[in-house]
């Protein structure tokens, strides 16, 4: 299972599903006048429009980074390299994405090791040989001087490139986990609140037990059993975090089931499944949407923390968390190598802050308790 989960195609499929569902939800909601007017209110503020544009840009980058392909290997004369026996074309085992293709110049700008942003020379000193063969200690010039906007890391990769690659990881963690959580939270929360009785007791028992286990311990043990990786992380973060939303939805359902329109459907003899999904769930969607957007940013941050303590995504996945983890050693050096940490933080804040602003605006528009009428 670990192999399957770490397969590049599987992750791409996940992104495709996530984006597809988001677009579908957007289309569904935009057909409803209630939501359209709410959205007009949300987008009435400039800060929200800016936030949304930034989020859209991040999403675009994540999508571009998720359209993957494998480059065929070529011989030195430029012809396709083929398997000696089967005569099949041999592909590079490293996958590439559309983003990689767009960023080819950035990706190929490799140096030997660290260099500061916009520096013309390498950060570390080396023994240099001048024309006469004399040796001096000094900082050698870079292959691509003054073109590394955010510097390079220990093995000479451009940090801007790494940061951009980190977007996909962050978006998957935030988006996929959220979409994983929502159906369970809705199903269990509404079922518990609507049926009451032993079903309610059972579901409450499950989520109370789950939320009384320290989530960090649960995540660590899960990652040890199933291996480090992005999908595993999403799954276990989902398992530990559906309880909060579930609890809120259960409470709201308890309230809604006593409302007259639910009683009316009940008295009409409407089937219970239909009451739940036609009369109760649509009236909970504002809570789901607000929670989804606000918890999205929490999950992006959680990934950073988990990668920092070494149980996040694997070392082969570029993520802001692992960049911060690397920075642990870099900050211990003198002079300090700061740019990798700062780059990861800036990109992370660039995602989390607009998401929070957007979530707050959604709450202002959708949460009836905040309305001042």
């Amino acid at each position: 299972m670990t192999n399957l989960l770490n397969n590049w195609y599987v992750k791409d499929a996940i992104v495709a599903v996530v984006v597809g569902i988001m677009v579908w939800i957007g289309l569904m909601l935009s057909r409803r006048e209630v939501w359209r007017s709410a959205m007009r209110q949300v987008f009435g503020r400039r800060i929200v429009r800016v936030s949304f544009a930034i989020l859209a840009l991040y999403t675009l980058i994540a999508v571009l980074d998720s359209v993957g392909y494998h480059q065929p290997l070529r011989n030195s004369d430029g012809s396709l390299r083929r398997h000696p026996e089967t005569n099949r074309v041999i592909f590079d085992s490293d996958g590439r994405s559309l983003l990689d293709l767009l960023l080819t110049p950035l990706r190929n700008m490799e140096e030997k090791t660290y260099s500061a942003p916009f520096s013309a020379t390498q950060f570390t000193k080396e023994t240099l040989y001048d024309d006469e063969g004399k040796t001096t200690r000094g900082q050698p010039p870079l292959k691509h001087p003054r073109r590394h906007v955010l510097g390079t890391d220990r093995v000479g990769n451009d940090v801007l490139y790494l940061s951009l690659k980190g977007i996909r990881t962050g978006m998957i963690i935030g988006g996929f986990t959220t979409l994983l959580v929502i159906p369970f939270a809705i199903l269990f929360g509404v079922t518990a609140g609507y049926f009451r009785g032993w079903i309610d007791d059972l579901i409450q028992y499950i989520y109370t037990v789950l939320s009384s286990i320290p989530s960090l311990l649960l995540i660590i043990s899960f990652m040890i059993v199933f291996g480090r990786g992005l999908p595993q992380l999403c799954i276990i973060m989902g398992i530990t975090s559906w309880t909060g939303l579930c609890r809120v939805l259960r409470g709201e359902t308890l309230k809604l089931r006593e409302l007259e329109y639910v009683q009316a459907a009940e008295a009409m003899g409407v089937r219970r499944a239909r009451i739940m999904f036609q009369h109760i769930v649509p009236n909970l969607m504002h809570i789901v949407l607000i929670t989804a957007v606000l918890s999205f940013s929490g999950r992006v941050l959680a990934e950073a923390v988990l990668s920092y303590i070494g149980i996040g995504v694997g070392a082969d996945t570029i993520s802001w968390g692992s960049m911060i983890n690397d920075a642990r050693q870099e900050l211990a050096r003198d002079p300090v190598i700061w740019w990798k940490l700062i780059a990861a933080l800036v990109f992370m804040v660039g995602l989390v802050l607009p998401a929070n602003l957007f979530g707050d605006a959604l709450r202002d528009a959708l949460d009836p308790r905040l309305r001042t009428e």
Binding site: V34, Y261, A267, M268
Partner: protein, 598 residues
């Protein structure tokens, strides 16, 4: 006696609101005067601007959306519009006080009654400690609260609605204000409690000489309590007159319309012919609904709320049967038991020969079509996320009524029958007013062709002119569709107008039942007499209001013997020990041990 001097003058008051839909003129050029010691009543339907007028006087218009756009309010020669907030605070409470509709939200739930009273006394009279507490005790005593020592230590939730309103009046009158503004002071209260409060306000007014600005939608309350009346419509004062003149010869068309719409307590009852020949549709016998009170670690039942405690009614085909009673008497629970939204504890519910009381979900399904319900609150009885068409079609689909292709056109036809346009199927409930939503709710119920319709306070939250139209509609539909109604209401005037027979409930039991005309025009049970005498009415009929002492006891711990004996003016020893049974007299059944004597 010389004319009393004017204490408050309002000239061309305009209070406007900025809303996303544009400027709303809530109060649009209102002028009137309040004289010393009089009661001036502002009446009008919801949205007429009567409450906003009061808030403008207090300078409490909700900011920033609302603002006073013009006009003047002078109190004893001082202009209140534009007065600095510091000076206004000195006037509020000291000179002008206000009591609100909902006494629960006006009192802070985390402080005791004593804390809150003493705070007011400290603030306005500068008294502290024991002295302030003594004044607080006096005040509670003054507004007729029994055992004021104990009440001072109670929290608001421990008091009944009527007691809370008394506390609010005590607080408002703490500083002997010159003006008391009462904004729907009795609307949230039961009719017997309402008459207690109105009596109290009148007594205090003659004691203290306070001028009262009474704001209400209830014409009966106005007729009995006001010296002069101003009728408001759309932010304007359309007519002003003393009650005798206003009710005898209303001038403005709107006033005439309003007075026509008020259900009358006088004159012949509209439904008088008895249809005893008709066969019985519903028979309820010995119905009990006890809700367990669970306490402690293991949630053991420590007692029961006896919401319905042994009830017998029968409804004939084509009849309108009404259950009336005050809040907490169990009338709503009866409705819920009959259409089986709750499972009755014991008893039998026979509907057209079928026993419903112990049917399970599946067996009930055919009766979910034949028994329909119209709910009280038009704002919560329609799913806000469902289109009108889907709401109406849902029931038809559930019960397989009509061909799937025809259902939409049937829904449109039904909407037209209840007085709506047929082309609103694709719209959402929030686009409609309360009365329109109630029509949609009626269309939903009738679309599945029921036999019995339970109307649970179906018109209570509507304005009186809308209520009249809905009642007319229900009456028309009854004949056209061959319906029977079970009408559950607290409003005796409405019930008098619509029902053929009536049952009066008190604490889960029927105290008196019979033909509407007999019961309402000649009540015999002491509770029915008090209840009916407490209904405020426009007509001067020389009746004496019977004010019952105290509150309705808790159904979790009902009194021994006759449930009504603690409040009954005629109770004797036997009433404390023996529970009276419903006994048939010539034209009605009555549960009173002394029914022959009093």
């Amino acid at each position: 006696m010389s004319t009393p001097s004017t204490i408050l003058t309002i000239r061309d008051l305009r209070t406007h609101f900025n809303t996303p839909e544009g400027l709303v003129r809530a109060v649009d050029g209102v002028s009137f005067e309040l004289r010393e010691g009089e009661t001036y009543a502002l009446v009008g339907e919801s949205g007429s601007g009567k409450s906003m007028t009061a808030l403008s006087v207090m300078q409490l218009v909700p900011r920033p959306a609302g603002f006073i756009a013009g006009g003047s309010i002078t109190f004893e020669g001082r202009e209140l519009v534009g007065l600095p907030p510091v000076e206004m605070r000195g006037i509020r409470g000291n000179d002008i006080s206000m009591i609100f509709q909902e006494p629960m939200t006006a009192l802070n739930p985390v402080f005791t009654i004593g804390n809150q009273l003493v705070e007011v006394i400290k603030l306005h009279q500068g008294l502290r400690g024991d002295k302030a507490e003594r004044v607080a005790l006096d005040m509670l005593d003054h507004v007729g609260i029994a055992d004021p020592d104990q009440r001072l230590r109670d929290f608001p939730h421990q008091l009944s609605g009527g007691m809370r309103q008394r506390v609010m009046i005590a607080m408002a009158l703490a500083c002997r204000p010159k003006i008391l503004i009462a904004d729907e002071p009795t609307t949230a209260l039961d009719v017997t409690i309402q008459s207690q409060i109105l009596e109290l306000m009148a007594a205090l007014q003659s004691d203290l000489g306070t001028a009262i600005l009474l704001i209400t939608h209830n014409m009966g309350v106005v007729a009995e309590n006001a010296d002069r009346i101003g009728v408001m419509l759309d932010g304007k004062l359309v007519e002003e007159a003393p009650p005798d003149k206003l009710f005898a010869s209303p001038q403005h068309d709107y006033t005439k319309l309003l007075l026509d719409a008020v259900p009358s307590m006088a004159g012949p009852t509209p439904h008088s012919e008895l249809n005893t020949q008709n066969q019985e549709l519903l028979q309820v016998s010995n119905l009990k609904q006890h809700f367990p009170i669970r306490k402690g670690l293991f949630q053991r039942a420590v007692g029961h709320v006896r919401a319905v405690d042994g009830l017998d009614i029968d409804i004939r085909r084509g009849e309108t049967f009404a259950i009336v009673g005050e809040s907490g008497c169990g009338k709503t629970t009866v409705g819920k038991c009959i259409n089986r939204l709750v499972d009755p504890t014991t008893g039998s519910i026979r509907f057209d020969g079928h026993e419903l009381a112990d049917l399970k979900r599946k067996g009930l399904q055919p009766f979910r079509q034949r028994i329909q319900m119209i709910f009280q609150d038009p704002f919560s009885s329609l799913n806000p996320r469902m289109r009108i068409g889907a709401t109406i079609v849902e029931g038809m689909r559930t019960h397989g009524i009509g061909m799937p292709a025809d259902r939409t056109s049937r829904a449109a036809a039904m909407l037209e029958r209840v007085g709506m346009e047929g082309d609103i199927l694709d719209r959402y409930p929030h686009e409609f007013s309360g009365g329109q939503r109630q029509r949609i709710g009626i269309a939903r119920a009738l679309a599945v062709e029921p036999d019995l319709v339970i109307c649970d306070e179906a018109t209570s939250s509507l304005d009186v002119s809308v209520q009249a139209k809905i009642l007319d509609l229900l009456d028309d539909l009854k004949a056209e569709f061959g319906l029977s109604y079970l009408f559950i209401s607290h409003d005796i005037a409405v019930v008098r107008q619509v029902s053929d027979r009536i049952a009066v409930m008190y604490l889960g039991q029927i105290v008196e039942t019979g033909p509407t005309r007999d019961v309402i025009d000649e009540p015999q049970h002491p509770y029915t007499r008090a209840l009916i005498s407490a209904v405020p009415r426009i007509e001067k009929d020389g009746r004496k209001r019977i004010v019952l002492p105290g509150d309705v006891p808790s159904p979790a711990n009902p009194p021994s013997g006759c449930r009504f004996h603690p409040r009954c003016p005629h109770a004797v020893n036997a009433c404390r020990q023996m529970m009276p049974a419903l006994e048939t007299t010539d034209n009605r059944r009555i549960a009173c041990l002394r029914s022959g004597e009093i």
